[in-house]
């Protein structure tokens, strides 16, 4: 227990003066960071891993940002070490942004940490439909990017987020919050292809009002430790929440996808599909929660998690969780874990396709289902390329 507070102690000096940050820090020191027995971090002992690998004082004055890594077109925001670099960012059309003081956020430990340490909050207000990109370049011990996205009634936004670690053993603790007004539409996509010394904890929270729709696509390929917290609150009626994810891991990568969808009002819908392919010594964790509150009658909620383990060293923990307090609902969840179908491989090989290609073909078909809801072709192609690269 004492060890866990080392992390807090070494970060104490960096807490912002702002009242929200102070309050968040106070709350955090009271509840403490997640420890070994915390249910939500049961398979990802995040603090232990961070304490072992991260040098909190690691500081780099460089404002490194490799222009080759991203296309500087359309609206894009560049964060360097968790802070927005206005010079490199640009907006197009009627999308507007502002830099504001940090406001109160969620109350889970890592969100509180972000609220305490983030220097400010980027607020983006939706406009035209053109996609908005957010690129993170991090090279210091801990980066705390914080973004709030306001999607006005009837408008829509496509947001693509990418993170590049440019120094070893750095930790990113990001927080992005969506306010989805009535009849608004959001599609948020993340491609997580990090390197084997990248540690990140990424929280995405969305509040969806009447008739709003929220899509999240998370594609994860590599990373020493990646934890995705996705929280969708369906506050209104007739809302939709969609969560699609793929994790295709090898080496010693560790990913933990923790999703929560909360049905609060009647007639809302949620759908979730996460697929995992685990190779070498990788570990995959999936914890999907569906809450259906007492008033949320006529809710339809579906969740599915399918996994394939390819190697002796791979480990999988999955926990699909349903909590239902309303009676007139249709909810289901399913999850499977298995290996490649030997007959299918044999079928392909008997037609002259070698084992490796046959395996790749089957895995690709398995993985591609999660791409169906990605609207942006460039992202789709990028993910497909990554899948091919990993499989062949």
């Amino acid at each position: 227990m004492i060890k866990e507070y080392n992390m807090l102690r070494s970060l104490e000096g960096r807490v912002n003066e702002n009242t929200s940050s102070r309050e968040a820090w106070k709350m955090l020191t009271e509840i403490g960071l997640p420890h070994k027995k915390s249910e939500t971090y049961k398979f990802t002992p995040i603090v232990l891993i961070l304490e072992k690998n991260i040098d909190w004082d690691l500081n780099s004055k460089s404002t490194f940002c490799d222009k080759k890594l991203y296309a500087a077109k359309g609206s894009h925001f560049i964060f360097i070490n968790g802070v927005l670099n206005e010079k490199l960012s640009q907006v197009q059309g009627d999308i507007s942004f502002a830099i504001e003081d940090v406001k109160e956020g969620r109350h889970d430990p890592l969100s509180l940490l972000n609220t305490s340490l983030a220097s400010n909050e980027l607020v983006i207000t939706s406009g035209t439909e053109s996609p908005v990109f957010i690129y993170h370049f991090n090279s210091v011990g801990i980066s705390n990017p914080r973004v709030r996205i306001k999607v006005k009634s009837g408008e829509s936004i496509q947001l693509i987020e990418k993170l590049f670690e440019t120094n070893e053993n750095t930790f990113t603790n990001s927080f992005i919050h969506f306010e989805v007004a009535e009849n608004a539409f959001v599609c948020h996509s993340k491609v997580q292809n990090y390197n084997s010394s990248t540690y990140s904890h990424e929280t995405v929270a969305a509040n969806v009002e009447n008739n709003g729709r929220f899509y999240n696509n998370t594609f994860s390929f590599e990373g020493a430790l990646t934890r995705n917290n996705l929280i969708i609150n369906l506050n209104g009626q007739n809302c939709e929440g969609h969560m699609y994810g793929l994790f295709l891991l090898d080496k010693k990568s560790h990913i933990d996808n923790n999703t929560t969808v909360d049905h609060i009002q009647p007639n809302s819908f949620s759908n979730e599909l996460y697929k995992g392919i685990l190779d070498e010594d990788s570990t995959g964790v999936f914890n999907g929660k569906i809450y259906v509150r007492q008033d949320a009658q006529k809710t339809n909620a579906f969740q599915s998690n399918n996994n394939i383990l390819l190697s002796e060293g791979a480990t999988l923990h999955t926990k699909p969780q349903l909590e239902i307090w309303a009676d007139d609902v249709k909810c289901s969840h399913g999850c499977t874990s298995g290996q490649l179908d030997k007959d299918a491989i044999f079928y392909l090989r008997s037609r002259g396709i070698d084992y490796k290609a046959a395996k790749a073909m089957l895995l690709r078909a398995f993985a591609e289902e999660t791409l169906e809801h990605v609207k942006l072709e460039t992202i789709k192609h990028e993910v497909l390329d990554l899948i091919n690269q990993k499989l062949l």
Binding site: S311, H317, I324, D328, C331, Q339
Partner: protein, 481 residues
């Protein structure tokens, strides 16, 4: 009065039919728990020194443990010093046959619908009856002993077969396993013991009937079933308790040991007093049940129908250690009014080619909360492990809740694991269909619920299936509309 009206009358007037209590003289310990109480229980049972030491060790462990809080149930803190840990109906001397048993006791069991008399021979069930803490009678002992089967109360086993008890007690559920298992290990007063020798197929159902009678007592019984190589046994357990305003604690331990090729089928119909309509009173049922398939091709099957108890906290589990061993779990858990149930199973695949199957049906009505919590774990060396889990919940009324917490942990790539869960309600169209055909709403719901639970009911031995079906209808009485 027409027959239908009679049935209706019978139905609507029924609440908890086993809610009476009988006054007979009982040997009791004072309230509270300490080492002296444990010594007293042990002395009362004339136990050997090693067992007393084992109890005391468990007690010391228990004192250091904390009450678990993770289950999805809430209840006021239990005052462990306000419980009587031992209560036994006073008997002049140990009865040798049923004729010598206190007639008042026999009447008690007859009121419960369990005749200990030999006419039970017709149904072919051997019964061990446990009242409060002590086993009062075991039937068909002689017939079973011809086959070498030992079926007796736990205390008798301690006296007569100490080597078996010593070898197996705590081997499946060690006393430091959890809070209530430790408490049970310290203060358990009786229970059933069953040993099936090599290659014997037990010709009749073995059954234990538990009843809590005295007030303020906790019931802590311990069941130990040992199935030696190639043997088979089907074991039943039933329970009731009187209606009382205060909550009573029931913390039992069941251990099953299955050797090579052995098969054990364990069925429970749990009907402890669930408390009244406002959630007052009722039994806290905190039970540890676990079986281990030690040998290859062993099989353990749990079937449970849970209708009673104010709070249930119970996970019958299987450790599949032997290669090709099989674990099964079939459960129907019904909660009504203010009942809370957090129940499920744990399947631990250790051996190669092990298989497990989980079918759990939860039905919640009134203001009750019903949770399924299960874990399927495939260890590294468990090649070709196979699991199928299905948990369905049925919600009746808008004030109840259904929760599912399945944990799936896989460390072997050849494992094939499937889990699926659904939640729904009794459809209006289904009820309408029945009503159209002259079945009233109450019976229509009973029909639909029975259909929903059929898959599990089919796994119960015949005598139990009938009782269970009636219980289901009773528990859900008045929950529609």
């Amino acid at each position: 009065m027409s027959i239908e009206e009679q049935i209706l009358e019978e139905f609507t007037s029924k609440e908890y039919e086993h809610g009476w209590s009988v006054d007979f003289e009982a040997d009791e310990t004072p309230l509270g728990i300490n080492e002296d109480i444990i010594r007293f229980i042990s002395a009362k049972k004339e136990e050997p020194e090693w067992l007393l030491r084992w109890r005391l060790e468990a007690f010391r462990l228990w004192q250091k443990m904390e009450e678990p809080k993770w289950a999805n149930v809430s209840y006021p803190m239990i005052d462990f010093q306000a419980i009587k840990y031992y209560s036994a109906p006073k008997q002049e001397k140990k009865p040798n046959s049923l004729d010598e048993v206190d007639p008042e006791l026999l009447k008690t069991f007859e009121r419960l619908g369990i005749s200990l008399q030999e006419q039970k021979r017709l149904t072919g069930v051997a019964i061990d009856a446990v009242i409060d803490s002590v086993s009062v009678a075991t039937t068909f002992k002689d017939k079973l002993s011809e086959l070498g089967i030992i079926f007796c109360s736990f205390s008798e086993a301690v006296q007569e077969h100490p080597e078996l008890v010593r070898k197996y007690i705590g081997s499946v559920v060690p006393s430091n396993d959890n809070y209530y298992a430790a408490l049970n290990s310290a203060v358990f007063s009786d229970g059933s013991f069953c040993y099936i020798p090599k290659g014997v197929r037990c010709p009749m159902e073995l059954s234990t009937y538990f009843r809590i009678n005295a007030a303020n007592t906790g019931q802590f019984e311990r069941t130990l079933i040992i199935a030696d190589e190639g043997s088979y046994v089907s074991y039943l357990e039933g329970c009731t308790a009187p209606m009382r305003d205060e909550n009573q604690l029931h913390a039992a331990v069941v251990e099953i040991y299955a050797a090579k090729n052995a098969e054990v089928k364990y069925s429970t119909v749990q009907n402890w007093y669930p408390g009244d309509k406002n959630g007052k009173g009722g039994i806290y049922n905190f039970v540890t049940k676990r079986g281990i398939c030690v040998g290859d091709y062993a099989k353990i099957s749990w079937t449970q129908v849970e209708t009673g108890s104010a709070v249930t906290w119970k996970y019958p589990s299987c450790i599949l250690k032997g290669d090709h061993s099989v674990g099964e779990f079939y459960s129907v858990a019904v909660t009504n009014n203010h009942q809370q149930a957090d129940t499920g199973t744990k399947m631990l695949h250790i051996g190669k080619n092990t298989r497990s199957r989980i079918v759990s049906k939860g039905i919640s009505a009134g203001k009750s909360q019903n949770s399924y919590r299960g874990q399927v774990e495939v260890m590294k060396r468990a090649e070709n492990a196979r699991n199928f889990s299905q948990c369905d919940s049925l919600l009746m009324g808008s004030l109840c809740g259904a929760h599912t917490f399945p944990y799936i942990d896989i460390k072997n790539k050849t494992a094939q694991v499937e889990h699926e869960a659904t939640t729904s309600k009794v459809g209006e169209d289904q009820i309408f269909y029945c009503q159209q055909r002259g079945i009233d709403e109450e019976n229509a719901v009973a029909l639909i619920v029975n259909g929903f639970a059929k898959e599990v009911m089919n796994k119960l031995p015949m005598e139990f299936a009938v009782e269970a079906q009636k219980l289901l209808a009773l528990t859900l009485e008045g929950s529609v509309g």
